[in-house]
C-alpha cells in the first residue's frame, strides 16, 4: 500500500491529511460547548477594561505574566483561588501566558491598588527592588483608543452573543452612551492617581493608557 501511495501524490496527500486532521477534532470538539460556559456571576469587560486589556496585549504583558493559577497549594497561597474555566468565558483571546518571568496576574485586583500600579509602572525597580520589568512611562503619555475598544465590545456582542445590556450585566449602549460610561469609570481611577499630566488630560477629555490598564488589572479578581 505504501509503495502505491508513494507513486500517487494525490492519495498520499489525502492520506496524510486524514491522519493529521482527526486528532484535533477528537480532542477539541467534544467539550467545546461546555468549555465556553461562563460561571454564574462572571461578567463581560467594561469598555474601559477592554481598552486596558488591549494595552496589556499591545505591550506583550502576557509574554512575562501568566493568568492561570494552577491547583497547587504553593500557587493558591501565592496568588489566590485556583482558576476555573468559566472565569475565562469572555476572554478573547485567552491570556494564560507560558512563562512567569513576573508573577501571575489572574487575581492581581485582589491585592494591588491603583496607587501601587501607578508607581510600579513608572519605575518597577523603585517599588520592587531587583525587578527586571521594563519601565512604562509612555503609558502616561498615550491616549487610549476608545473607538477600537468600543468596536471590540460591539463585535463580541453581535457575533458571539456576549450579554451586554442584559439585566445585571454591564451596559454597552450606543457609542455616545459608552463614551460617557468610560469617562465615569476612568474618573474613579484618575481620582486615585497622583500624576498631574494624567489628571489634566482627563479634565481636557483625554484618557491615558495607564488609566485603562489599571482599570483592567483592578478588575482581575
Amino acid at each position: 500500500m505504501f509503495h502505491w501511495l508513494e507513486k500517487n501524490p494525490f492519495f498520499f496527500a489525502v492520506g496524510v491529511f486524514l491522519v493529521i486532521a482527526y486528532a484535533g477534532i477528537v480532542t477539541i470538539l467534544p467539550d467545546f460547548m461546555e468549555s465556553a460556559r461562563p460561571l454564574k456571576g462572571t461578567k463581560p469587560y467594561t469598555v474601559l477594561q477592554i481598552a486596558g486589556r488591549q494595552v496589556y496585549i499591545q505591550n506583550g504583558c502576557n509574554t512575562c505574566h501568566s493568568q492561570l493559577i494552577r491547583p497547587f497549594k504553593s500557587e493558591t497561597d501565592r496568588y489566590g483561588k485556583y482558576s476555573l474555566s468559566g472565569e475565562y468565558a469572555y476572554d478573547r483571546p485567552f491570556l494564560w501566558g507560558s512563562r512567569r518571568i513576573g508573577p501571575d496576574l489572574h487575581r492581581v485586583g485582589n491585592y494591588r491598588t491603583t496607587d501601587w500600579h501607578e508607581n510600579h509602572m513608572l519605575n518597577p525597580a523603585a517599588v520592587v527592588p531587583g525587578s527586571v520589568m521594563p519601565k512604562y512611562p509612555f503609558l502616561f503619555k498615550k491616549n487610549i483608543d476608545l473607538d477600537t475598544a468600543y468596536a471590540e465590545a460591539e463585535t463580541v456582542k453581535k457575533v458571539f452573543d456576549v450579554p451586554y445590556d442584559k439585566p445585571g450585566m454591564p451596559k454597552l449602549g450606543t457609542f455616545a452612551q459608552a463614551k460617557k460610561a468610560v469617562f465615569a469609570d476612568a474618573g474613579k481611577i484618575v481620582a486615585g492617581m497622583k500624576n498631574q499630566d494624567v489628571k489634566d488630560a482627563y479634565k481636557n477629555g483625554n484618557i491615558k493608557e495607564i488609566v485603562a490598564l489599571i482599570a483592567y488589572m483592578n478588575g482581575l479578581k
Binding site: V16, N62, F94, P134, K158
Partner: protein
Amino acid sequence: MQSSNAINYDYTVAKYFTISAIVLGIVGMSVGVLIAFQLAFPELNNLFGEYGTFGRLRPIHTDGVAFGFTVSGIFATWFYVGQRVLKVSMAESKFLMFIGKLQFWLYIIGVAVAVVSLALGYTTSKEYAEFEWPVDIAIVVVWVLWGVSIFGLIGIRREKVLYISVWYYIATFLGVAMLYVFNNMEVPTYFVSGMGNWFHSVSMYAGSNDAMVQWWYGHNAVAFVFTVPIIAMIYYFLPKESGQPVFSYKLSLLSFWGLMFVYLWAGGHHLLYSTVPDWVQTMASIFSIILILPSWGSAINMLLTMKGEWGQLKENPLVKFYVLASTFYMLSTLEGPIQAIKSVNALAHFTDWIPGHVHDGTLGWVGFMIIGAIFHMAPRMFKKEIYSKKLVEAQFWLQTTGIVMYFTSMWISGITQGMMWRATDQYGNLAYSFIDTVEVLHPYWTLRAVGGSFYLIGVFMWAYNIYKTATSSKAIEKEPQYATPMA
C-alpha cells in the same frame, strides 16, 4: 535523462530564499540576543522607547526565527531538493518559475509588514500566531503559492516514486495550512462595527477553548515547522554529503506515519493543570511519551546511515553539523516527553526549562540542519568551492559551545525557580517572595545571553562564508558528487 547531471537545474528561487534565510536569521537571532540580555540587564529595555521593551520584541524574535529564518530555509531547500529528487528543472516550466518568484516577493513584503506591525503593537497575543488578520491573509497566499510549486513540480516529474524528503515537504505544507487557518480564525472588529482600527480583530474562540486551539496549533507548529521539514532536509543532505544510502526504508516509513499520527494529540501538554478537560491533559501526556518512538526512529535511521563511516566526522565539517543535529533532535525529543509527564510539568511549566528545551531543539537541530544544508547547496548553486573550511570548523565549535551554555544554564535556572516557587518553611508558609526567585536567576540569564551571542557570531561567520563563496571563491568545473569541496 538517466544521470542527474543531464538535467540543468535552475536554482534562482533557491538562491533568493537562501539570502532571506541568512538575513532573517541574523535579524531574528540578534533580537533574541538583545532580549536575553534585557532579562539580565533590564536597563536595555529603554533603548527604543515603547518599541524596545521585552514584550514587544519577544514575538519579533520568535516569529523572526520561526517564520523568517526557518521557513526561508524550508523554502530554499525545497526549491533545491524538490527539483533534484523529482528529476525535473524549474527552467522547464515558465509558470512554476513565475509562481516561485511571486512567492518570494510576496513573502518578503509579508515579512516586512509583519515586523513593523509587531513593533507597533498590533498583535493577537497568541504565541507564534501573533500576526493580525491582514498579515495572516498574506501568509495564506504565500503558503498556497508554495503548494502550487510543490504539486506543480510533482505534476511534471520524471522520477515517479516520491523520495522520503518529498513526503515530509508535503506533510509540512498540509499540516501548517490546517493549523494556521484554524488557529487564526478571528473577526475583524472594523467590519462588524464600522469603527476603530481596521487591523484589530477578536479571536473566534474564548477562554479555555481558545487555549486548546492555540496549543493544538502552537505545539504542532513546532511539529510542522521545526520537525517535519527539517527531517525532509536531513533525509536528503546527510546521505548526499556522506555518500551513504539511508539505513532503513522500513524505519523511515514507520517513523513518518508514526509521527503524523501521534504528534497532533500532544498539544494539550502545554495546558497541564489548567482549566481544559482533564482527559485531554492525560491523553496529551500519554501521546507525548509515545512520540519518542517515531522521533527517535528518524534520528536513529540517520545515525545508522553513518554506520562504519564515522571517520567522515573527522574530515567533513558538514557531516558534523548533520550528526550533531540528529543528536540534538534525540535529546530534545526525549526532554519534551519528560516535561510532558504531569508531575514533572508541575515543576517545569512557566519556568526557563521550557525555553531551554525549545532552544536545544531549535539551535541544535533546526539551526544546524539549515546551516549545514545551505553549506551543501552553496557550491552546487554558485558552482564555487566553499570559501573557507577552517571557518566552517570554527563556526561549528563556537555554536556548539553556545548551545551547551544556553541549555545548561536554562535547565539550572528553570529547575531552581520551579523549586523556589514551591519551597516552604517549617510552618508550611512559602519560603520565598516572587522577586527572590527572579534575582537568583541573574547569573544564569547572563550565561544564557552569552551562549546565544556565541551562536549569533556563528551565524555571522556562516553569512560571511556563504557570501565569499558566492562572490570570490575558486570555481569548480564539475558538480561534486558527495563531500562538498572546501578551500
